[in-house]
Amino acid sequence: MRLRLCSRSRPRPVSPAVRVALAGNPNSGKTSVLNALTGLRHRVGNYPGVTVDVREGSYEFNGRLYEVVDLPGTYSLEAPRSEDERLARNYLLHRSPDVVVNVLDLGNLARHLALTLELLERGFRLVVVLNFADEARRSGMAPDPQALSEALGGVSVVVTEGHRGVGAAQLKAAIASAAAAGDIAAAARPAAGAAAGAATRDDTEAELVRRLARARLIAALTLGSEATDPAGPERETLSDRIDRVVAHRVWGLFFFAAAMYGVFWVTFAAGEPLAAGIEAGIAALAAAVGNLWPEATAPLLRSLLLEGVLGGVGSVLVFLPNIVLLFLGVSLLEDSGYMARAAFLVDRLMRVVGLQGRSFVPMLVGLGCSVPGIMAARTLDNERDRLATMFVVPLVPCGARVPIFLLLIPAFLPQTLRAPALMGVYLLGLGLAAATARLLRLTALRGSAGVFLLELPPYRWPSLKVIAGQVWTRASLYLQKAATVILLFSIILWGLSTFPQKAEFTVDAPPAGGPAGGLDSVADPLTIARLRAAEALEYSFAGRLGRWLEPVFRPLGFDWRLNTALIGALAAKELFVSQLGIIHAVEAEDTDSLAEALRATYPPATGLAALVFTLIASPCVATLAVMRREAGRRRWAILQWVVLTLAGYLLAAATYQVAGLIGLGA
């Protein structure tokens, strides 16, 4: 984002920008090449279908601006099967980029070249990128770019290692000369319609077979025949050996459970000490500010800073380490190549609920955030599969809900029950996702399921640079969210919790002179302050709103304070924690932690009900917006909100009642 702003603010070069599109088979490293060219950090991952959107970036080379778009992967332009493939195809055919950079995986050159031939036949001006040069070298291949260039009629060929940016400079030069050739031959430039016209041509299977056969021949010329012989014996690779264990028909599910547990452990167990550190830091900061800023000067501003900002945003930032570690776990799943194995392993189980293995990828992505999770469903080629998957993605607990769990679980459960309860939350989310999908497939989305076809990438050592970049991007996006949405809403919530201010309190001011003589214990000045704060809060807009909602949420055991926190959670899930933090900061001037205050105020039954409700009910605004866009109809977003909120409400009520019965009530 920062970088894009920079490129805009630069003085614009005189000649018009060259529009470059990155095309290629899925997982050939297009996004890595884009990142290498532009210095951006778009999402990459070692499985097909990471990029599902047309993403942009730009760079300057020799005083000229190049606007690069990264396209989703596609096997051919002729027969797109899913939304992401259609996007790539439509962009290429209808937006007629000046230069197409075709990224190929050297490890599967014969097949990837088929798309190159198709692009050439359609008259695109190509630059061919042979990516994964490091892996090719390691397996003893010696690609001959010159031979390939000749076989393709003089197209320039660049060898790269996308993840490390090796070859980016040569690629820029090659793009520049391809673009220059285009400027000279501007008259002969294929018009916007030319490529599209060619698209209507009947591309039969025979033609496809011919192209594949020719691609094999050219690959053989480039690499030496032995490396590409389609009938030759297979060489066993490390990936094969790993798969023999990790994707085994029996052990596979154990490894799967272990991988999931690993992500989980990293997020929660490893994050705990860090979170505790940040919490202490924020508490110290608040104390310092509180001491330095005398209560009498600008009391409202002081309250805004201490209660609204530090209480609201601070209570969310406490859990930043956990969220960053969760992103790390998901990034490792994505970049190692395990993601596709997970889809393979669970396909049979997903089929039971009317989904398929590929639906699992959006769910895993949804562990980080539901928004990219829902978008990842674009790779599903069956519309009903896609809708059902998008519908249930918000049931997978996203990163924004991590603070809620981490606040509520330790607050209400003894040490021994915390880990199982966390696990339980995630399993409950998954179970409900499965049940909801099944239900949808039996009602609104009845019909045959799609086909499961997935290419498994080789395992790759996640490169430190890539992982760090991915985690950093996500973490900084999260920080941005904290600094914008959460801060803004925290201030709003603080305002709602502060105004209108109450002047007259029912609790008497402490007697001016000496210790009170015997009426009751209210004499303690601290207690009086607390009671007055509670009164003031109840008098505020938030308090009134919370009171007004009380009859609705009474079956869940929520009081008006929790109700106000739920209002915040509509915008972003973290605001649930923010608002509780604000209330806590407003109400209690002492140093009790938020968790301790919660434990003192509510019975465990209420805590569990709140956990269940925030897990299930009311996906956040961003999720609903993306659902509406992806489903194409507002109906689906509304249905999703209503169904999930209703289900959350009923299950939370049931939780409260059952917990009350087993003695966890008041």
């Binding site: 490396a227 393979f344 396909d347």
Partner: protein
């Protein structure tokens, strides 16, 4: 005219069966009989000049052929001006015509070949098939047309559905059928086994791909071309889906789709024998 005058096959045939042409009669002589009959059917006199024009040959060739047919007693060529069929010639020409019509019918009705092609191929076949093969084809035709209802199946109908869907094998549960449809360009004898029947770690070369067209296309795009080596790398927990290994990539797909991928044993193909296997890369 539809029926060929044939006795059930298998029995030692009598000296000369009704469809048989005297062995001495060569292909071109048979053709002459047909041409003469054709001209006559159009109500014209078969003159040497007409015959030569119709057959696209020079007149002396026609004259010498007529001499030979006359020697066989099949035509009356005494006038040296126009030709007429003798009663025996009439019969022989009739048989030739019947055979042509039968072959065309067989191509049209059983193999579902288009009319124009059937006409052309019938011309090509009628002279080149041995009596024995012709005999068998006739028997097969009768069997197919007469029997299928008896065993509860409309074989030709099923075959038609196959052709329509672009598949290359018979529909239904018979996956190992030897029939070849219009997709023969990408399918080859013999079909072999489906990949899901391989043992884990076992490989073979793709011999045939059977799938509904859109999926078939994607499979080809993914590199599952006939002739390509695939290996069944593994099976997911609960037996589905399966993992295939191709040169350059790994693929997972459900049994349902994988069942349509047929492979030949490498040994059958004879390309990578044990010796060839040693060519594994470094």
């Amino acid at each position: 005219m539809a029926r060929i005058e044939r006795r059930p096959t298998g029995r030692p045939s009598p000296e000369r069966s009704p469809t048989e042409i005297p062995p001495a009669l060569s292909e071109s002589l048979e053709d002459y009989l047909e041409v003469i009959r054709g001209l006559r059917a159009e109500g014209r006199v078969a003159r040497v000049r007409d015959i030569a024009a119709r057959k696209g040959v020079r007149m002396p060739s026609v004259a010498s052929a007529m001499k030979r047919l006359a020697d066989e007693g099949l035509v009356d060529y005494r006038t040296r001006e126009y030709v007429d069929l003798t009663p025996e010639g009439e019969q022989a020409a009739e048989r030739v015509a019947q055979r042509h019509a039968f072959l065309k019918r067989f191509l049209r009705e059983v193999l579902l070949v288009s009319p124009a092609t059937a006409e052309r191929d019938a011309c090509a076949l009628e002279h080149s098939l041995s009596p024995e093969t012709l005999d068998r084809i006739a028997g097969f035709y009768q069997y197919i047309k007469g029997c299928p209802r008896g065993v509860g199946r409309d074989i030709v109908g099923e075959f038609r559905d196959c052709c329509a869907s672009g598949e290359t094998g018979p529909a239904g549960e018979c996956h190992h059928g030897q029939a070849r449809g219009p997709g023969a360009a990408v399918a080859d004898y013999p079909c072999g086994r489906s990949v899901v029947e391989l043992r884990e770690g076992e490989g073979g070369r793709i011999s045939r791909l059977r799938a509904v067209p859109e999926i078939r296309r994607r499979l080809v795009e993914l590199g599952l071309l006939p002739g390509t080596r695939v290996e069944l790398e593994g099976v997911a927990p609960l037996g589905d889906p399966v993992r295939l290994r191709l040169r350059g990539c790994r693929l997972c797909l459900r049994r349902e789709e994988a069942e349509g991928i047929f492979v030949e044993n490498e040994a059958d193909g004879g390309l990578d024998g044990p010796a060839g296997g040693g060519a594994a890369r470094l």
